[in-house]
């Protein structure tokens, strides 16, 4: 399986949907007959995944939003895991 690199454009796997669930107080990823509750960072990253922007751009946006300087390693690590779990695809 391809590893996520900074130039890759991630998008949610077809049939997957990200949404905020008030009752569960977290973002969830919904897919055929299943659901994953996401922790804060995972939800924040996936919120930026729009099938348009590269991972480098996603990282930049998150760094600005959270006032952090280097989120690259964290985001790439998450992207690899999301890829492995079938939540996202890379274009």
């Amino acid at each position: 399986m391809a590893e996520a690199d900074l130039n890759a454009v991630p998008r949610l796997t077809p049939g997957y949907r990200l949404q905020w669930e008030e009752v569960q107080d977290c973002h969830v990823l919904l897919y055929p007959e299943g659901m994953v509750q996401l922790n804060g960072p995972a939800g924040a990253i996936l919120e930026q995944v729009d099938g348009q922007r590269t991972l480098a751009e996603v990282i930049r946006t998150l760094e600005q939003a959270f006032g952090e300087t280097d989120l690259s390693a964290d985001v790439l690590e998450f992207a690899d895991e999301a890829l492995e779990r079938g939540w996202i695809r890379l274009g």
């Binding site: 077809p14 049939g15 969830v28 007959e33 299943g34 994953v36």
Partner: protein, 385 residues
């Protein structure tokens, strides 16, 4: 009805048992009418009559109330949900409320126009069930001609842009055809295939001696499934679950009573498990009389087997009690007479022999031909009819 693996992907949890968690899954069994007559159906023997069904307004109220208390996944099931002419309306309303909408269908009653209508209403996912890999066996088990229609509808669903999710319910009559089923799935370019083991509830329990495969059959099928899992890795995802009769440990039925899963029957009766209707001593409330919030949090029936306080030994002191919740209450009742007993599929159950004896009978050569004839699931064979 092919929903016995509905919870398979669920990997959440972690709620303290002292606090009642919200329901996350709503199973809307919109009708018990079905053009198919599968003898493995997990519907109750007493099929709910058409005139007892909730009307459109009734279902809209259910969708609204369940969403309000947290349900995010929604399965439209039955019976055959496509029999309901208002299904498109219900799907549209559900999608607007924020549900992820799943249709669990035989594919009979579907055509390309209806697939397009459901897509337009926001249906997220359509799962089509097959009874076997050939027309002859598929149509025999289904009790009607349906194989070619299913294949056409699987293609129509995929053409609409959905992932193709196929479900085969496995039992003695088709388990030796698992390779053929997976070849069929590959030919149709399925994305996901569930080899769903029959749950011996309802009609399936009535037909158990004809449907329970032998251990050898299960092992052979498992080996085939693993071979295909390797072969199609990255292209087609294959799920195979060993029947609980051969596992030695019970499955965590509905992920724990009143913990994640909320089912509403065709007549509006709310249940913690779609098979729970016949459990003795419990009064399951109807959505016509009570709010789903009250039913989920307050009603005695939904609290009856919550947590671990209700358990008897060996469950009460078992290390695995919060992993499998003592198994299935319906199975415990149907096989041992007491829903508080450990699910007898557990090897630790003092009554485990009721399961091992059934499994031993399944080993006898020629057993299936000497067992009682199959009873097909239809209104004529339903005691309530």
């Amino acid at each position: 009805m092919c929903s016995n693996l509905l919870m398979k992907h669920w990997n959440g949890g972690g709620y303290a048992l002292a606090k009642i968690p919200p329901p996350l899954w709503l199973l809307a069994e919109v009708t018990h009418s079905c053009p198919l007559q599968c003898p493995y159906c997990s519907n109750p023997l007493n099929l709910i009559r058409k005139q007892e069904e909730l009307d459109t307004e009734g279902w809209l109220k259910v969708l609204h109330e369940a969403r309000k208390i947290g349900a995010a996944q929604l399965g439209f099931s039955g019976g055959e949900p496509l029999v309901r002419k208002d299904l498109g309306t219900l799907v549209g309303a559900a999608r607007k409320l924020g549900y992820y909408t799943n249709l669990i269908t035989s594919g009979v009653g579907l055509d390309a126009d209806r697939v397009a209508e459901l897509h337009e209403q926001g249906m997220d996912h359509i799962q089509i069930s097959f009874q076997s890999d050939s027309q002859a066996l598929n149509d025999y088990i289904a009790g009607c001609e349906s194989f070619e229609q299913k294949k056409a509808m699987a293609r129509a669903v995929k053409a609409q842009g959905y992932p193709m999710v196929l479900c085969f319910v496995i039992h003695r009559l088709n388990i030796d055809h698992v390779a053929g089923m997976l070849d069929l799935a590959a030919e149709l370019e399925a994305d996901y295939v569930e080899l769903a083991t029959t749950q011996y509830e309802g009609w399936a329990l009535l037909n158990r001696d004809r449907l329970l495969p032998s251990r050898q059959q299960v092992q052979a099928a498992e080996a085939v499934a693993h071979r295909y899992q390797e072969k199609f890795k990255g292209r087609m995802k294959i799920y195979f679950v060993v029947p609980d009769y051969y596992e030695g440990r019970p499955k965590p039925c509905v992920d724990g009573w009143g913990r994640v899963f909320l089912a509403v029957g065709p007549d509006g009766v709310a249940l913690p498990c779609h098979a729970a209707r016949d459990l003795p001593g419990l009064e399951f409330a109807n959505v016509r009389d009570h709010s789903l919030e009250w039913i989920w949090y307050e009603s005695p029936a939904f609290n009856a087997f919550r947590g671990t306080g209700w358990m008897k030994e060996p469950c009460a002191s078992c290390d695995e009690r919060e992993k499998d919740y003592g198994g299935c209450r319906c199975q415990a009742f149907k096989l041992t007479g007491d829903p508080r007993n450990t699910d007898p599929t557990c090897a630790l159950s003092p009554l485990h022999q009721v399961v091992t004896e059934a499994a031993l009978r399944a080993e006898l050569p020629g057993r299936s031909s000497s067992a009682k004839p199959l009873v097909f699931r239809n209104r004529r064979n339903s005691p309530k009819a």
